[in-house]
Structure formats: C-alpha cells, structure tokens
Amino acid sequence: MSYPILSIMILLPIAAAILTLFLTAQAARWAALGTTLGLFGLGVALWHGFDVGGPQWQFVENAPIFGRFSWALGIDGIALMLIVLSVFLMPICILASWTSIEKRVPEYMAAFLLMEALMIGVFSAQDMFLFYIFFEAGLIPMYLIIGIWGGADRIKASYKFFLYTLFGSLLMLVAMLWMSREAGTTDIPSLMQYNFPVEAQTWLFLAFFASFAVKVPMWPVHTWLPDAHVQAPTAGSVILAGVLLKMGGYGFIRFSLPMFPEASAGLVWLVFGMSMVAVVYTSLVALVQQDMKKLIAYSSVAHMAFVTIGLFAFNRQGIEGALMVMLAHGLVSGALFLCVGVIYDRLHAREIARYGGLSNNMPYYALFFLFFTMASVGLPGLANFVGEFLALVGAYEANSWVAAVATTGIILGAAYMLYLYRRVAFGAPAGEDTAAMRDISAREWLTLAPIAAATLWMGVYPESFLAPMRNDVTSLLVRLESAAPAGDAQLKKGSPKADAHHEAAHGEAH
C-alpha cells in the first residue's frame, strides 16, 4: 500500500472529532456517521489489501518522532480482524444513538470518534509505549461517555471503570519499563521474539495480567463491568462489550503469551482457575438478574472466560477458538445490547419484569432478539458456536476437567438467555404501555440487520475470518512450543489400516 492507511485511520477520526465539536447536533450526527462509514470503507480496503499468507506484519509504518519511542504501526491478521470489528460496529453505534442521545450531541459524537481512533491505535501499534498510550487514553472518552450520557447511577460507574482499569494498567507500565531496559527495544515484533529470563517472566506476566485481566474482565476483577454496562448509554455498552473487552484478549495474545511463554505455562492453573469460576459463577449470577443489561453484562464475563480458557490451552484449536469467540462475542453481545437499547428507548426501563409478550406487538424485534439469543447460546450455524466449540476442543486437549466445567457454561448460558427471552418476548405484557410499543423502525433495522448478517456469515463460513489469522496463530504456537504444558488428553497418532486405505486418504483430504 503506497499511502499510510493506518495513520489515516487513526488521524481521520481525531480530526473529525475536533470538527464535530463546532457543529450543530444534527450536523454532528451526520458528520460522525459519514466519518465512521468512511472508516468502515477503509477497514474493508485494509482487509482487501491484506495479503493472507504474506509477511506476518503488513501495512508497516515507522516514524521515530517521539525520541524514546516511535510512531510505529503495522498489523497482523489478528489485529486486522479486530480493527474490522471496530470499524464495523462504529457506524452502528452512531445510528443507535441517533435519537436516544439528545443532550450535548456534538460532544458525544466527538467522544465516540476519539474512541474509534484510539481503538484502531491499540490494535495497530507496533511500539510498546505507543500501545500503552492508546490503551490508556481510551479511558478518557469512555469515562466521559458513561459519566455524561449514562443512567442514574453513572458517576459511581464511571469512577469504578476508570480507577479499576487505570490501576491494572499502571502495573503493566512498570513491567514495560523494565522490559524495554532488558531487551533494549520497544518494538513489539522484536519483543515477541525476545527471551526474557524465566525468573523475571513470572513478575512481568503478573503485571500484564493485572491489566488485561481487569480489561477482559476475569473473575474476581469483573465487578466494574456490570456497573459500567448498566449505566452506559446503549452505544457505549456496544463499544464496551464489542471492542474494549477484546483489548484484554488481544493483550494476552500480543504480550503475555509470546513474550512470557514459560510464565504463561507456569501460571496456566491461575488462568484456568479464574476462568472456571467465571464461567459457572457469573452464569449463575446472570440467571437471577432482574436487569436486562446486567444480565448481558454477566454473560459477557462468562463468554470472555472461554477466550482465556482457549488462549491458555496452548494449542491451535484453543487459540483459534478464542479468537473466534472474541469476534463473535463482539458482534453478538453488541447486538444484544442494541436489542435492549431498542426497548429501553421506548419504555425507559431495564427491568425484565416491565416487559413481556413483545412477540405480539413487535414481531420483527422478537425475531432479531431470538436470533441473537440463539447466537449467544451457541446455536450451530451462528457465530458463537464456532469459537466456543473450538475453544472447548482445545481445552479438552489441555485439561479435560477444565473442559468439563467450561461446558456447563454453555448449558447455563442457554438457561439464562432463554429464560430472559421467554420473559421478554413471550407471555402476557406487563402493562398497557408495553403492549403498545411499536416495532423496530427503519433506523433500528439498519443497526441490527448488518450484525445479524455478519453473525450468520461467521457461523456458516468462519474460514473468511480464520484465514487471515491462521499464520499468526502458527507463529504463536511455534513460540509457545518449548514451554507448552503437557495436556491430559493422551492423544495418539493412529496408523491407518491397510484395507481402509482409500478411506484414510479421503480423510486426509479434508
């Protein structure tokens, strides 16, 4: 690519954010929508221009303008998919806030555009400190989004969000400072190949873990998430669940696993333990929630636990599964928050008990809601199934107990999602106002239909999404090979029988 497309993708929304501050509400909406659609176009161009099977790092830029660190950008397949996810969700977020945000619209749009720039920056930074700056800077617009446009209890939620994530990240910063001294570079691709002393790795791993575990979030540091989700405006929840949580998973893939393979292997018990508790505990908590947004927030914690389980399975299925769960969860939980937003805009209530029987007066809405509920439950043919299945297969190879406990999460997931759906969409309406709610408008169609299409695509033909990431997973596995803990699956290579020769050959062709 002859032009610095990544820099453009970061700087364009920043420029647009500054511009929108000076516009009227309606003009700001259109400017934000136009910019995000333009960025989506650039994202598609990025995907199109990405050479699958080519060099690991593409679209590389490097300008040493900051002295100690540089403006170094570049993406691999994993970063590409997460950037595409971000730019895909962004115009939808703008559309979702079209009428529900009435006060201080220009500032709202500016905050979202800034957020988008920072998200793209996080996924494309190739310099450790540049990554940190983008990673941390995201706190400011999100803090403002929750604090200004959030619900009744927004102040506490915004503080909790900010301070939790800040505390984790600061420990990571100390570790980064040490690493840059030790390795003599801040270049992420070089650091991914650097062998840190094993005794230091544990400390470094824990420092990074403090940051990413809060971001993912893992039990027991997940408590900021339900608050933040419940109080944030709908679009804020979508971005939070869709992209910001993925930064934690991305951090594990980009830093923890390749840079500290021995420590990762040594602390697998910690990650597995926390993830197992998360799957079961947060699912049970989700089951008893009275608040729709809280329920989906807890389900996010449970789903993200599949990501951590898959990543630390140290095998291809697990890691690819984790990546797919990240993408799928980004779409599906984002869509579920949109679904909640649709009815919240009509009734201004999040309590499940205030709804009921929506399939009568809002059939299209009920259809979409069912679609995403099913996707969240892990129905084959939809996005989540692919990732969760792969992650569980990987986990089973690594540790069958973990796989067994994690699988109960699927069952519990079905329980709480279907229970939610039954209470909202079936039965008798809770009141006359509930029964009088209009079905989704054209604008809401535009927000939900693209996600539904992408969910279906990802479920039916996941290869489109897995192909760009495959080589990166391979190089990660090569890096992890020496440290990977032995699994308890006792896999044995079978030897094909002579008389079944053609069948074996047939099997290999798959």
């Binding site: 100690r68 400190f129 400011i140 803090y143 200004i148 301070l163 800040l166 100390v174 001294r181």
Partner: protein, 475 residues
C-alpha cells in the same frame, strides 16, 4: 578566574538586580500608578536575563557555578516568574488595587532562586534560599486586608524560619565534619565513609530542603499558604520556588553528597512515597480548589523525588523533564482558577462552583480538564510523559519496589483529578462565571493547554536532549 569574569558569569542575576533596584525607585516615586509600567519593566528584565544566559564556568572561587544545569533551570524559573506577573494585573485590579511592589518582590525572589540553582557552596545556597524566602513571605501576605493572606504569610514565615534553622544546623554539621562548605570539598569528606555527624548533617540538610519543596513530612504549611496567598502568588509559589528548590536539592544531593548516595537514597525514597500517598489522600476531601492544588503539588513533588532517588544521570534528567512539564500544567491550572469569578467579578475558590462548567464555558472546561488529566498522568497528555521518565529512571536504577508502589499510588491521585472533571462535565450547571475578558490570561491557558496536549509529545526529543545535557553537567 578574575573578578570581572566571575561577575560576567552572574550577569543574569546582575541584570535582574539592576532592574529590581531601578523599578523599586520608580515604585517609590511614581507610586501605584506606574504598576503596569513596572510590570512591563520586570518582564523585560526577565527576558533580558534569559538572553544573557549561556556562559559556563565557576566563579568567585567556587561560590557560584554556571553550567548547563543552571542554564536549563533558570529560564524555567524566569518563565514562571514572568507568567505570575502577567497573571497578577487583572487579579489585583479586581481584588484590591494594583500595587507597584509586586513585580519588584517577584524579581527579588527570582534573583534568590538564581543563586540557589547556581550555588556550589553551602553558604551561597543559604543566602540564595533566604533571599528567595524573605521575598516570598512578603508575597504570601500581599493582600494586607485579607486575614487569610496575613495568616498565610505569618505561617510561611514561622515555619520557613524553622526550616532554615534546621538547614543551617545541618550545614554546620557538614562543615564541622568535613572542614569545608564547598560542595566538592564536602563530597570528598563524605567519600571515606559517612560517620554519625555527617549523617546527621545530611539528614538535617535534607529535612530543611524538604520543607522548601513541600515534601512529606514537611508539607504542613503548603495547603494553608496556597489557600491564603493571592492566586497569582500561589501560581508563583507552585512553580518557580519549586523548580529552584528541586534544582538546589538535586545539585546538593549529587555534587555535595554524591559520594554517599546510599545514605540519602532511603530518605528520598521514603519522602517520595510519603508525598505521593499523602498528597493524593489529603486532596480527596478538599473543597477549595487552591487547597486541592496544594495537595496536588505535594503529590507531584513525590514523583519528582522518584527521579532524584534513582541518583543517576537519567534520574536527574527525568527530574528536570518532570519539572518543565509540571510548571506548564501548574501555570495553566492556576490561570484557570483565576477565571473562577462570579458575575460581578469576585473570585471564588469553591470547587462546587465549577459545576457544569463544560456547558457554561466549554473551552475553559476543556482546558481545565486537560490540565487535570495531565496532572493525573493519563496518556496521551504530556503529564504521562513526566511520570514515565521518572519511573523509567527508577526502574533503570533497580528501584522496582519504589516504582511499583509509587505508580500504583498514583491511582489514588487520579481520583481527585477525576472529581474536578466530574464536577465540570457531569454535574448540573451552577451559577455562571464572569466571562473571560483578559487576552493575556486566555493566552496563557491556551498556550499551556496546547503544550500539555498530545501535540507536546513532538517536543520530547528536544526536551530529552536538553535535560540530558543539563544532567550531565552534574556528574
């Protein structure tokens, strides 16, 4: 070196002294009517002093040193002094009346600071420090009719005199045990092991200087003096004397006590962590913006000391970087505080009066938010870079626990900076402020806000090179 060469080394101080004396005469004869003229003259003198900087050498048989280090810190002090003069005009015109002595006192204090930075002898150090302090005591109580201001001046004076006494006692011990008051001579005396008397000397000197930089446990005066002093004076106290005292502390620690790093490193580590934590915790309950900024300055001094505690060249360079960025943030914040006026022009200091500022005066609120996030050290604002370099130096010097605890404690500090942002952005608007009328003040706010915004990162290579050269001069 001949006496003429020595005098030429002190040219910046000479320029300022001459200007201060002339302006004092003008003030005596023309009275308060000439205040604006005197202010302009003082600023011209500061610019002139900056322009004649640049000579390097040791003058007056080792009493005075001009080197890259002093040439780096002095412009920063002059900048802070100049801005506090600029910020004063409208404030005093509104509060009481313009008073001619203000900028003369600022100039006199600034001369003392120049001596502090350039001192390479314990006696020069003390004389410079006292010169600065005496002018500062008067400045603190500058609003004669305001009881709080008088109280601030008195408090500052009593505690400052006590600290000077402690410092002097430490100096006498160092002199007694090493036989000299020259920095390098003291360093030689300490080089062959530190005996009990020398250790006491070091502790007392550090205690006296900790008072001047408002580091815990010698910080108690700060909130009261910051609150009571007129706001432009507080802006001055928060910046110029801090730079001078920190630079002085750096020079004494490295040049005079550089051979006994282990003896003072622990003290600095304790002071630093205590300042970070206490500065952060103390600020949480404050309702007065100036008191809050006082605690913020205690908190920031803690971070500055992290760099010095490293005791390395990189650490000193980091300390200087921190001071530059800190001065910009502080001047900007106080310029914002000066805009907190009711509709009829009375200055208010209550934090709650900032409620909903983002809807009343979006630009002012945005600038204030930038300073707050920057003081909290949140990237991509420049305050992050300041914290980054000091912690980097600490990590490089192997002080991992200091770095880890210090950086974790900065989360506490983030809380109260966020509180200001919350009040400005999330709360319902309070009574409107008087609109910003002064071009000078809005110019100061705009320039400092741009400097600490991400655009400031482009200056990092330049700043890094300059601080490295300055730090090298001490080793």
């Amino acid at each position: 070196m001949s006496i003429i060469d020595s005098l030429m080394l002190t040219l910046p101080e000479l320029v300022l002294t001459g200007a201060a004396l002339i302006l004092m005469l003008v003030a005596a004869f023309a009275g308060d009517r000439a205040t604006r003229l005197i202010n302009a003259g003082a600023i011209a003198a500061l610019i002139g002093a900056t322009l004649v900087l640049g000579r390097e050498g040791v003058g007056f048989d080792g009493l005075y040193t001009a080197d890259a280090f002093s040439n780096f810190t002095k412009p920063l002090i002059y900048l802070a002094a100049g801005v506090s003069i600029l910020l004063s005009t409208r404030f005093f015109a509104a509060e009481e009346r313009l008073r001619a002595e203000y900028s003369v006192l600022i100039l006199l204090a600034t001369i003392g600071m120049g001596m502090m930075v350039s001192a390479s002898n314990l006696l020069t150090l003390y004389v410079g420090l006292e010169m600065q302090s005496l002018a500062a005591y008067v400045l603190a109580s500058f609003m004669r009719k305001d009881a709080r201001s008088a109280e601030a001046g008195l408090k500052y004076f009593v505690l400052g005199a006590l600290a000077s006494g402690i410092l002097l006692y430490g100096i006498s011990l160092l002199y007694g045990f090493s036989g000299t008051i020259d920095y390098h001579g003291v360093a030689k005396g300490l080089a062959d092991g530190v005996n009990m008397g020398e250790l006491f000397g070091i502790v007392f000197v550090l205690a006296g200087l900790s008072f001047k930089i408002a580091a815990v446990p010698f910080h108690m005066w700060t909130p009261d003096v910051y609150e009571g002093a007129p706001t432009p004076v507080t802006a001055y106290f928060g910046t110029a004397p801090k730079v001078a005292a920190v630079a002085l502390l750096v020079r004494v620690s490295i040049e005079a006590m550089g051979s006994a790093v282990e003896s003072w490193q622990q003290i600095l580590i304790f002071t630093s962590l205590a300042s970070i934590i206490l500065g952060a915790v103390g600020a949480i309950g404050q309702t007065n913006i100036k008191r809050l900024l006082a605690y913020s300055s205690i908190n920031n001094v803690g971070f500055v000391l992290v760099g010095l505690a490293a005791g390395t060249e990189a650490g000193v360079a980091a300390t200087l970087t921190y001071m530059v960025i800190y001065v910009l943030m502080t001047l900007g914040s106080f310029a914002c505080v000066l805009q907190m006026r009711t509709a009829d022009g009375v200055h208010v200091e209550d934090i709650q009066s900032l409620s909903g500022l983002s809807r009343r005066q979006p630009a002012l609120a945005a600038a204030f938010a930038i300073f707050m996030f920057s003081l909290a050290g949140i990237p991509p604002l420049l305050g992050f870079w300041a914290k980054f370099v000091v912690f980097d130096a600490a990590v490089a010097a192997g002080l991992m626990p200091l770095a880890a605890i210090g950086i974790a404690a900065s989360t506490i500090g983030a809380f109260y900076y966020l509180k200001i942002v919350k009040i400005m952005y999330f709360d319902e608007p309070a009574e409107a402020y008087h609109p910003v009328t002064s071009y000078v003040e809005s110019g100061v706010i705009a320039l400092t806000a741009v400097a600490v915004s991400p655009i400031g990162y482009l200056a990092i290579p330049m700043l890094g090179a300059a601080t490295a050269v300055a730090a090298k001069a001490l080793f």
